[in-house]
Symmetry: C3
Subunit: 396 residues, 3 copies
């Protein structure tokens, strides 16, 4: 093992190994040690992959993907992680299945799980339903496992819900660690999580909420900025305050993008829909009210348009620490003059950080692989040592 | 090997190993020994899987899935079985392919099969076309294999057709064996295969037909019950009579659900469309007669509605042996007050047997894996012994 | 190793091993030795597969499939090749992803490639955009690799573009080699690449262009025949002339199908759209001009109809060398009285060569596997020797 890898494994071995639950549904369900273990395993797997090692721990088995919203990055990250560990992806395409409503969620959960090790779910469209739906699935497979119907209990991974986007924010955390040199170095760094203008509407709240819910635990100085009316879930705001107090960090909400950028070490300007709009949208969607949805979209876009100046420009970037804050984005970004007329970020800013955003994204497959592995092996440090001494991805 | 497994392997070794054909298209194409071998291999594979063993017999190879109707259970069972044996699933999505009609079935069959070990087909919508279409594919790959175009001859597995649903009924058989303790114990047990009311229409006939075609071979007392006009294929009725006579069982048709339930050991209440309706539907579908189909659906649902009292209620269940018959269903069931207003089964009955129906379904992946393995290895008993002595699904 | 295999490996070892680029985008980008190496590796892999050997060289890894047009043969060939080498296929379904236009091609290319060894693309609908789009993807992953974002640089394989169809034509080359006994034997053989009537329109130019671009390098006497107005890309015509001169072959264009068939050793009658029509179609498609497209289709079909006598009939076949030219087609063919009223080929001619066209197609999975392997291993001859001494596809 190289030095990096050795240090990662040692840090991993120093952690309490208590596993509260194999499922990964919200970062704030996890203890500090669990979170850190997930991050360290991801880091180790990335290093092993860079060296050409095989990460395979399964001979056969399925990783089930349930995507209720469009996805490129997360879908391919999930497929990559599953394949790297030796699992085959089976897509639950709800249009091609016999899934109906209500009672059958728990039935379907068992029907697809006879040989499943992992179930990954993206369900971010309906406020109040995404994360709770995942918990329904978890309870159903737990029941099936306890009844002996399932020989193994598949672990659930939240691939983005109405509340959190843990695979994204854990990747962001590792990108920050790589950028600043250590997790310890994040302490006191100012992160501006700000709303930004976009010509589209209805973007989920899960990224800003997840960033607040995660980064306030690492002693960061997190500032949330958004125009009036673009609030997040109130529970997440309280959580941010509580966690910042506990970690020795800070958490603040402001109505000014400038203020948030002032002296920031990291900026994360990104559009989202207001919480109350997502609530109305959830109701209209569940009523199938097409006309109401169109009307809501029109109102929303008109309201968005009042905040076209919430754009990550060169002028704003100049206000950050030494004008050199790290720009982050979960991608795809709405880039002014590139993907739209007015967007979240100026073309020159984005282009300067383009490869940095790719690097940020590059942690996601390894974060997912880590969540899968941590759910399925008892001693990840030992597993990583075996992989480090094992074969390469190329057999011949 | 544990005792269960040892007994299963011994029973397997005692069977005549003659393989008439590697394809599995109808249970009644198979000799008693072939059927029993399929059941025993499935049972052994399930036991090995429960123990965490790897079932892998292929390093690489494709299992091709062709689904001409929606599916969750069978699709995932097929994917699970393929993956467990080491095959990757390749979906033939007819919308994304260049498949046209008529002549090219035999061409397509060869084009997809250069590296295919297995082809699984669900084709249950058109009466007279499903099973015969599978035989066309079988003949085409046979021709390709004999001409040296294909290096291996893929085996076909019927994943539900217009006539039979062998992967379902073989799973049902194994569920019955598990419930009653042995195949021998099925002798003389009364099974009520009855129509039940559903607010939908056009459900295939393959399950009741398949149950009759299979269970009459095991000395069971099979009673088919349905309202006037809901007949099955006449060939299957004759087959049931002939087989029951040969096996020392009984086969009877009645017009009363009560009569069928009276003293039954097993009940299988399930909706299906009348045979003559499926014939009309086939014609209208092939003519693309949208209006005719709507009209037929309307008439059918109106006719169905006359039989809303064909529901598996607590009162009916009380009439079964000691009020404790095993309730079976291929799922999803139409459950009154849960998935619909009036359905096939009362909510309290279904809930009492819910986990039992999951257990019934849990045999399907192993039945399919057994069909795949039996088609591709010469001595399944030896293969199972090797797997029992082999590695676990988790490599590290 | 058997004699065939030994000779193939020896021929392979005799070639210069210089790899200009791992991507396979046009056959005429490749040196003679590179082409020959691709052909020989494909031949060796086919022989190993026939013997039941495993072709696996990867433990894990993804092969990404991007199909912007319908496909059966190429899709399954790609899946087969990937699986045979140990890679899992991940489909980039653009409808289910967040792909937008313009700038994000390079972003998407990196986002899907963190664990990708291969990217296969079919993009044949838009003239001037297919091959150039592939080069954009290639440049993007090169940038990501050089920046350290990607741990490995995925190799691109052209699965059909607006210019060439190298996996098809390389398969055709191997079919010709098998038919005539050696590559050397192709020298001087007359190949008639002719237009043929079809009741559809808009078929890509890539097959006739690819055949000219490839077969003129092997000293063949290539005759292109088409009605007035059905021209190919002018660059390809020049290329054909240049290459024929260099290889000691011939290249000629004629307006008569009869003339092309006269004394031909091989005939390849196939419909395509005129170059200028494809250009108009590209413009109309990119403008989303539905009405214009309908109008163009109408005009085209009317124009096509003037050339219904361009059909590969028994009379025409009788004019070929000894009346026994090899009939080739990339499939599916429009067969008169079978798949349409008037088509590219008479039913009796097609039926006589039907299995030959299957055999032609059977090379494609191995050609793709060869392209993948050549891109990813340094010494394919050594790899083939190891596979020949290695395990079988069936593990138990």
């Amino acid at each position: 093992m190289n030095t990096n890898l050795k240090e990662t494994v040692q840090a991993l071995e120093a952690l309490a190994s208590s596993k509260s639950s194999a499922d990964f549904l919200l970062t704030w369900d996890k203890t500090d040690d669990e979170l850190m273990a997930t991050a360290l395993v991801a880091k180790a797997l990335k290093e092993l992959h860079r060296e050409g090692r095989s990460l395979r721990i399964f001979d056969t088995g399925l990783a089930i993907a349930i995507f209720r919203d469009k996805s490129t990055r997360t879908r391919f990250s999930f497929s990559s992680a599953a394949n790297a560990l030796g699992l085959a992806v089976a897509d639950l395409d709800e249009e091609k299945s016999q899934i109906s409503h209500g009672e059958t969620v728990r039935e379907t959960a068992n029907m697809i799980s006879f040989m499943a090790e992992i179930i990954g779910i993206r369900d971010d469209m309906y406020l109040g339903q995404g994360n709770s739906g995942m918990r329904e699935v978890a309870a159903a497979v737990q029941e099936g496992f306890e009844a002996g119907v399932l020989h193994q209990r598949p672990a659930l991974i939240n691939l983005q819900c109405d509340i959190d986007h843990p695979t994204q924010t854990m990747a962001d955390l590792l990108a920050l660690e790589a950028h600043f040199g250590s997790f310890e170095a994040l302490r006191g760094k100012k992160l501006a999580m700000t709303w930004a203008y976009s010509p589209s509407y209805g973007k989920p709240l899960s990224v800003p909420q997840g960033i607040i819910g995660l980064m306030t635990r690492f002693g960061m100085d997190v500032v949330l900025a958004h125009p009036e009316g673009y609030d997040l879930l109130p529970e997440v705001i309280s959580l941010g305050e509580k966690q910042a107090a506990a970690s020795g960090g800070r958490f603040e909400v402001t109505g000014s993008m400038e203020e948030a950028f002032e002296g920031a070490d990291v900026v994360y300007p990104k559009s989202w829909a207001p919480f109350h709009v997502m609530q109305q949208r959830t109701d209209l969607l569940s009523q199938g009210d097409r006309r109401g949805l169109d009307q809501l979209e029109k109102e929303c876009l008109a309201n968005n348009a009042r905040y076209q100046d919430w754009e990550c420009t060169e002028d704003l970037m100049a206000k950050t620490r030494d004008g050199k804050a790290l720009y982050m984005h979960c991608l795809p970004a709405d880039i002014t003059d590139v993907s739209c007329q007015h967007g979240e970020v100026a073309a020159s800013v984005f282009e300067r950080y383009r490869l940095a955003t790719y690097r940020e994204a590059s942690f996601k497959p390894f974060v997912i692989a880590s969540m899968m592995m941590r759910a399925k092996v008892d001693d990840p440090a030992a597993t990583i040592e075996k992989l480090a001494a094992g074969g390469s991805r190329k057999l011949i």
